[in-house]
């Protein structure tokens, strides 16, 4: 009888623990597709991807990195476009997750950049940067300490800000 009660108690606790985990995690995963730098907070309605005039386009940024001796790879547009941006591409530079987004205005840029950093902070990256010039944001997150001294990240940002 005691043993049966113990088993029930344990099962109840397991359930409670699962609820705790799920409850706490809910806040962290209210953004869909967590795990990639392109994962974004739930957008009310997906906006069509569209480049923004008057700011550096993603392809220009990637070409600048190549010209600087870096190796951007796997860049592809994100759909739906996350963080309130008008256009985003996600890939890797020197194996470090990198995101380039173009925003329509400074207000959405500010909010998008903050949301990006908040999400990466929650996910627990080793190093994260979100830097903008005009209406383009470059975000870099080093999840696995590929760049412990930030030399690659510095080069990525430095090349971008010289555009």
């Amino acid at each position: 009888m005691h043993r049966q009660r113990d088993q029930f108690g344990l099962a109840g606790c397991l359930l409670a623990a699962l609820f705790v985990a799920a409850g706490c995690h809910k806040g962290a995963t209210s953004v869909p597709a967590a795990g990639g730098p392109g994962a974004a907070p739930a957008a009310p309605a997906p906006a069509p991807a569209q480049h923004v005039d008057g700011t550096a386009h993603t392809d220009t940024v990637e070409n600048a990195w190549r010209a600087a001796g870096l190796a951007p790879e796997g860049f592809a547009p994100l759909q739906p476009v996350p963080y309130g941006a008008s256009y985003c591409e996600q890939g890797r530079v020197q194996t470090i997750d990198t995101l380039v987004c173009e925003f329509h205005d400074q207000d959405t840029l500010g909010k998008g950049q903050a949301a990006l950093l908040e999400q990466w902070g929650r996910e627990g990256g080793h190093t994260g940067v979100a830097f903008h010039a005009k209406l383009t944001v470059v975000g870099v997150v080093d999840r696995a300490r590929h760049d412990p001294n930030g030399k690659v990240i510095h080069q990525v940002i430095d090349t971008f800000r010289k555009l």
Binding site: L10, A21, G128, V129
Partner: protein
């Protein structure tokens, strides 16, 4: 039942820990990497975050939740451009906004990764930037809190810039390290030698002391120069070509310039940066261009 309760508690703690947010520490610019995390210096010079806090808060200021490294990056394997400073000065890093007057309290010669902007009140003398402006009240208010940065650097052995303090601007208000003791700039009390912690000795006029030290240094310079010329003469007699102008046995090079007053002056024998003292009355003024010590080329001589 007790065992089940313990297991339950353990699972709850585990579940809570798994869902706790990772540590996010904001940095404003470059900074040393704590030894427990890695080694060396983080090169990222824009706001960023890491999952670790600073190694020593005495080396930082916190502005809007972001840490800004205010120290000399040299002993932390920093390998970027460096600029020499002498004594306390306003933090003149044009790439950051510190939200008000903020000062570097490092005594004596040290490096930063930034050069002061042209409009800032610095003078380049004897191989370093000296702050010659007035101090904001914030300097004195914050001094007790931030002067502890010197305790961090005191035990560190690394190549500081070699500065010719005889060219200290008359308007410099900080302390000067001359002949093994700390002395104030024009108009202040003498500070004791290495390990000094107390107040100034009473009744000593600093300017006089500094000037006397200068005269002693000049005598030394003349003596070294005479010795150098003698050696040059002997080598010419023996048919050898001209040699690099090395330093004396102890400390950086303090000799006078060679006859042509130009050319390269060799470094000190113990690995410190080479040091060339400009001829008296010919100190270089101004901000542009001077003071930079490219990584790996610690040539402190500027004209």
């Amino acid at each position: 039942m007790r065992r089940a309760l313990a297991a339950c508690l353990f699972l709850l703690v585990l579940a809570g820990a798994a869902t706790a947010h990772a540590e996010v520490v904001q940095y404003m610019s470059r900074h040393p990497i704590p030894k427990r995390v890695g080694h060396g210096f983080c090169d990222i010079d824009v706001p960023h975050f890491h999952d670790y806090p600073p190694s020593d808060p005495r080396l930082y200021r916190q502005v809007d939740g972001q840490y800004y490294f205010v120290g000399d990056p040299t002993p932390f394997d920093y390998d970027g451009p460096r600029y020499s400073f002498y004594g306390p000065h306003p933090i003149a890093d044009a790439s950051v906004q510190l939200g008000g007057p903020a000062y570097c309290y490092i005594r004596g010669p040290h490096f930063h990764w930034y050069a002061p902007p042209p409009q800032a009140q610095f003078e380049m003398r004897g191989g370093a930037y000296w702050y010659v402006g007035a101090y904001d009240p914030a300097y004195y208010n914050d001094q007790p809190r931030y002067v502890a940065i010197n305790d961090v650097y005191a035990p560190m052995v690394y190549a500081r810039p070699v500065i010719d303090v005889q060219f200290a601007p008359a308007t410099f208000h900080g302390e000067i390290f001359v002949g093994g003791v700390w002395r104030a700039g024009p108009g202040g009390p003498i500070y004791g030698g290495p390990g000094w912690r107390g107040g100034p000795p009473p009744g000593v006029e600093r300017r006089e002391m500094v000037m006397r030290e200068h005269r002693e240094q000049e005598f030394h310079h003349e003596q070294e120069h005479r010795n150098w010329e003698q050696r040059q003469h002997e080598q010419r007699e023996r048919g050898h070509g001209p040699v690099a102008h090395g330093g004396p046995e102890r400390g950086g090079w303090h000799g006078g310039p060679p006859a042509e007053r130009g050319g390269w002056h060799g470094g000190p024998p113990h690995g410190g940066p080479p040091h060339g003292g400009a001829p008296a009355g010919n100190a270089w003024h101004g901000n542009g261009g001077g003071g930079q010590h490219p990584a790996g080329h610690a040539n402190g001589f500027h004209r």
